[in-house]
């Protein structure tokens, strides 16, 4: 496992992404914004896996897409190995993209049904002009082998493969350019449990072998616990807590994290853990609650939580939490 003193590969500062909502037939006025990601800060260190958890709609996928440049941020900065991605020219950005790739959630939608496995995996190399035609072919075979697929399958189409195999093809494509950072956007959520563990283990093996850095986005706390070095918890566009994995799972501080962790099913006969059941639904990101965004559902909310937004505070080394009880 990598030491925590490693340099940061990605450093995200004050990252905000608002999706404007426009109304009007001819003159379109902005009437509001979905605050998908609001003032988020974190870093991913070289060779580590940062797990990003949260429930549906909390903005975790948007964070990944903004880092990749699939969405442009409303404000904030993303430092990728010393370069601010929000301030690069398109040409420079294209070159930087070689070093970061994405693995998608849906293995059925993420592969072009009309391209053979070979052309799918080869495409990143073609775009960035890597190698000659024969070198690319050899590299495809090598990559397929690396992700555990028979290179003889390279002339087949994605629909001839199972979900797990397709996800391996997606991983091979992501590896084609030898990236530093791979953003895994719920890479196993669409797979069967038995296949999930295979893909997670494959990702871990590849990380050790190739020195990859992962941003692992998921809503599955057990998978995140298995693969991550550090874990960030998101709620309604904010990161509420970041800590090393063991620290977070042993000593969750934010009430939301506690509630989330108490929801993991336990397979033991020991004394039952107290289950924290949250009341109500996630508020709309169109009009998030004032103060601490979690106060509407927090069992420990005080009057201060309603008016004042808690600042992220480092309570112990590497353990950052945004909650008034610890400021």
């Amino acid at each position: 496992m990598p030491a925590s003193s490693n340099a940061a590969v990605v450093e995200v500062k004050h990252l905000t992404k608002h999706f404007p909502i426009k109304k009007g037939l001819f003159i379109r006025k902005q009437t509001g914004a979905v605050r998908a990601v609001d003032d988020v800060e974190f870093e991913i260190r070289d060779g580590e896996t940062l797990g990003l958890v949260g429930e549906s709609g909390c903005g975790k996928t948007t964070v990944g897409r903004v880092i990749l440049g699939l969405e442009s941020p409303t404000s904030g900065s993303i430092m990728f190995r010393g370069d601010d991605l929000t301030k690069q020219s398109p040409a420079k950005l294209r070159a930087l993209r070689r070093d970061m790739q994405i693995v998608f959630q849906d293995p059925y939608g993420s592969l072009n049904p009309r391209m053979t496995v070979e052309s799918i995996v080869m495409e990143p190399m073609e775009i960035h002009g890597v190698g000659s035609a024969s070198e690319r072919k050899a590299r495809v075979a090598e990559l397929l082998e690396k992700v555990g697929l028979d290179p003889d399958y390279r002339k087949r189409y994605p629909n001839e493969f199972s979900g797990g195999q397709r996800q391996r093809i997606g991983i091979a494509r992501a590896l084609a350019l030898n990236p530093k950072l791979i953003i895994c956007d719920e890479p196993v959520s669409a797979l069967d449990v038995s296949v999930q563990s295979q893909v997670v283990n494959l990702l871990q093996d590849l990380q050790h072998e190739l020195g990859l850095t992962y941003l692992f986005i998921s809503h599955d706390l057990s998978v995140v616990k298995h693969i991550s070095d550090r874990v960030a918890v998101m709620y309604l566009g904010k990161i509420v807590e970041i800590a090393p994995k063991s620290e977070l799972y042993a000593n969750p501080l934010h009430c939301y994290t506690q509630a989330l962790l108490s929801a993991i099913p336990l397979a033991s006969t020991g004394p039952r853990r107290k289950r924290i059941i949250l009341q109500g639904d996630v508020p709309s990101p169109l009009n998030p609650p004032s103060g601490c965004r979690f106060h509407t559902r927090c069992p420990n909310a005080q009057s201060r939580c309603r008016s004042e937004e808690p600042a992220p505070t480092e309570v112990s080394p590497g353990h950052i939490v945004a909650c008034h009880r610890y400021c």
């Binding site: 699939l70 998608f104 072009n112 009309r114 391209m115 775009i127 003889d152 087949r156």
Partner: protein, 291 residues
């Protein structure tokens, strides 16, 4: 390396295999090949000059000596006219639809992919074209350009593209949100590469199918133009024009109208069969099931 020969088999061979598994497609292809061959080799195949009149021998019934399909009101050999007519009819149908589907596909791709202002402009243009009655629009443009076979092709192509533009645009809008398109842009694909390499192959199937359905439509439209005096000019043989000429004698001599009508019908049918088979061959999901 070649444990499985199948997997390394070239794409074209595979497409052909799937195509030939489709029985009706093969029937359609054979009929089309016959029509196209007779069009290409018309001077060799046709027993008479299509323009040669023999007024003493008009309205000869099918099976008359020397005239297998009989003769028309001027005593011209119907078979020869059909064979020479297939040249014009097939050419107009194929060229007009090719022009229309290329224009429509490109505009539809741009509109669907870029959305916003580009989409608004293209779609308003489509609506302008739809707002005019088809035949009136065609006649108007033909009146300006003057009657000729080439103008018929250009005008029919230039007027029927909105169908393809709409079709492609709708498909592109659906595909744009697919993850494989996002993956392509995450890799650093240019817009043109995403449009033509990732999206276009996925929208081509409905375009090919409606193009094969559009060819008979174009043949019929050129016939209407010929009838109205803006298309192929008599005495040149063209199937549509032959039908409209023959309609005056329908009750006296139905023979004259049946043959060109039958030709249009058979060509329409075979294009549809071929279109179906091509669609199946191009769809990897369907194609593999047939294996």
């Amino acid at each position: 390396m070649s444990k499985r020969k199948e997997t390394v088999r070239s794409e074209a061979v595979h497409l052909a295999r799937v195509f030939f598994r489709h029985r009706l497609g093969v029937v359609g292809l054979v009929m089309l090949v016959v029509f196209i061959a007779s069009a290409v080799f018309a001077p060799v195949v046709a027993p008479y000059d299509p323009l040669e009149m023999d007024l003493m021998n008009s309205f000869a019934p099918p099976g008359s000596p020397g005239h297998i399909l009989g003769t028309d009101n001027f005593g011209r050999d119907i078979l020869s006219r059909l064979i020479f007519g297939s040249r014009i009819s097939l050419l107009i149908g194929i060229v007009a639809v090719t022009i229309a589907s290329i224009i429509g596909t490109i505009l539809g791709l741009l509109a669907g992919y870029y959305g916003g202002r580009v989409d608004a402009i293209v779609m308003r243009l489509v609506e302008v074209f739809y707002a005019f009655p088809f035949l009136i629009l065609v006649i108007g443009v033909m009146a300006v350009l003057g009657p000729s076979i080439y103008n018929v092709m250009l005008v029919l192509g230039g007027v029927s593209w909105p169908l393809y533009a709409r079709l492609v645009r709708a498909q592109v809008m659906a595909l744009k949100s697919e993850d494989f398109v996002k993956a392509a842009s995450a890799m650093g694909c240019s817009d043109a590469r995403i449009m033509f390499r990732h999206i276009l192959p996925n929208v081509l199937t409905p375009v090919i199918v409606s193009a094969t359905l559009g060819i008979p439509g174009a043949i019929l439209s050129s016939a209407s133009l010929g009838f109205l005096g803006f298309g192929v000019q008599p005495p040149n043989p063209e199937w549509g024009a032959m039908v409209s000429e023959a309609k005056d004698f329908m009750l006296i001599n139905s023979n004259m109208i049946i043959w060109p009508g039958m030709c249009v019908f058979l060509v329409v049918l075979s294009f549809n069969f071929v279109g179906d088979a091509v669609r199946d061959a191009l769809d990897p999901r369907l194609a593999r099931q047939l294996n």
